[in-house]
Symmetry: C2
Subunit: 276 residues, 2 copies
Amino acid sequence: MKLISKYKLFGGSQETYKHDSKINNAPMVFSVFLPKQVNDKKLPVLYWLSGLTCTEENFVIKAGAQRMAAKLGIVIVTMDTSPRNLGIKGENDSYDFGNGAGFYVNATEEKWTKHYNMYDYVYQELPVIIESNFNVTDKKSISGHSMGGHGALILALRNPSQYQSVSAFSPIVAPTRTPWGQKALKGYLGNNFESWQQYDSCELIKTATQRIPLFIDQGTNDEFLEEYLQPQRLESVCKEFNHPLILRMQSGYDHSYFFIATFIEDHLKYHSNHLK
Amino acid sequence: MKLISKYKLFGGSQETYKHDSKINNAPMVFSVFLPKQVNDKKLPVLYWLSGLTCTEENFVIKAGAQRMAAKLGIVIVTMDTSPRNLGIKGENDSYDFGNGAGFYVNATEEKWTKHYNMYDYVYQELPVIIESNFNVTDKKSISGHSMGGHGALILALRNPSQYQSVSAFSPIVAPTRTPWGQKALKGYLGNNFESWQQYDSCELIKTATQRIPLFIDQGTNDEFLEEYLQPQRLESVCKEFNHPLILRMQSGYDHSYFFIATFIEDHLKYHSNHLK
């Protein structure tokens, strides 16, 4: 684990590391915000999953989350959205597949299966690294944006006892039925539609045995709302299966980090209440 | 004046415009944060001046200032740090001169004098544009970082009745005596050392007739502290000439926007008190 950069902010520390991921068989980069309270006691952790094209850095620079995380005493972990530049043919051909678009799945297609296992990376490998290298408890929550909102939701729905709480901004809630998801799932998992469903929040709601509440913010002026996101699908299935959902349609907001910055403190307070 | 982008955040609006600057004889870009209160009443304005290489965007994305500006009801204006890509020979040869490094002076050297007049752009032209296009009062304050901290200080020291208050992060306080300043002043003004002094805060303190207080934050781990910034020069001259100065040496902070993000709300509250 190699320290790439370290900055002081809000009394705490923003530290970015590179390490060799065993699950992805590749170097991976993550960043961790450590409030100063971490020097005196173990703190809980919020995992933040970013959207298409992002690295571990976007949220760190643009979301303005550290101010409130410092107040609440929450460690925030962000990670790159895929391994990068491994020489896989086509890995950089599009913004929505391959590099920067791991989609938080474990790939089964031969070309990708060795390196594209972002589901297990976030669920298994990274928490072990965080918990063995920093002064944190094993209590964790998860959140994300767009593709990362999808990641947060599926990880929490499939592992409700792993996470104290889950939230999302503008998530892809039905990847088996919308273009970004269909492209990624076909690419990483092949044509076996059955295998896609384990990565689809709307499908997972139907079979959930433990009902972890979902807290979601969605901008009404989001340029991807109608074709790519379709939160009404989640609303409908949550209603049918009596799954707790808070879906806030935020008037006039778009898909950008300005939207995230505006409401991130609500999410941090929500997670803090569950992490106590 | 052409709208380039518009985002909703914290209930308000972040709008970026391109216009033909008469003073710089070139297109210039600025961005304005408009809290929602601007729909009901005229608000005062904080001008933010960025450092070397920055555009109007860095502060907007990285400083996290809009949250508190929305609360306090302050409009924030940021601007590019120079005209760009005008075909002037050498304009892109270095990060600390030419493009992205206007240094908030009016150039007198023949090569630069037509287009590099960032002092008058910030002091005269931009306020007229802001005041005639947005619902703002003529009350203004000014702040900035590094080269922009220098800009804020000299503009306020030379025009204390124009600004209600001034503050700076990590400013270049003695450009006639430190490398960044010497390179820029020589390049834009030539070898006439006398003419440099009107752009040097430490020199301006000596001749100030109206003593506008200075509020400055400086990180102790700033990588440019000893060679390029030297705040002790300002401290010494303020003491000698009885000029009011609050200089906060912030332990462990560096020159980055993480430092600015940490303390920007203190600055916004300071300016808000003076703008009332």
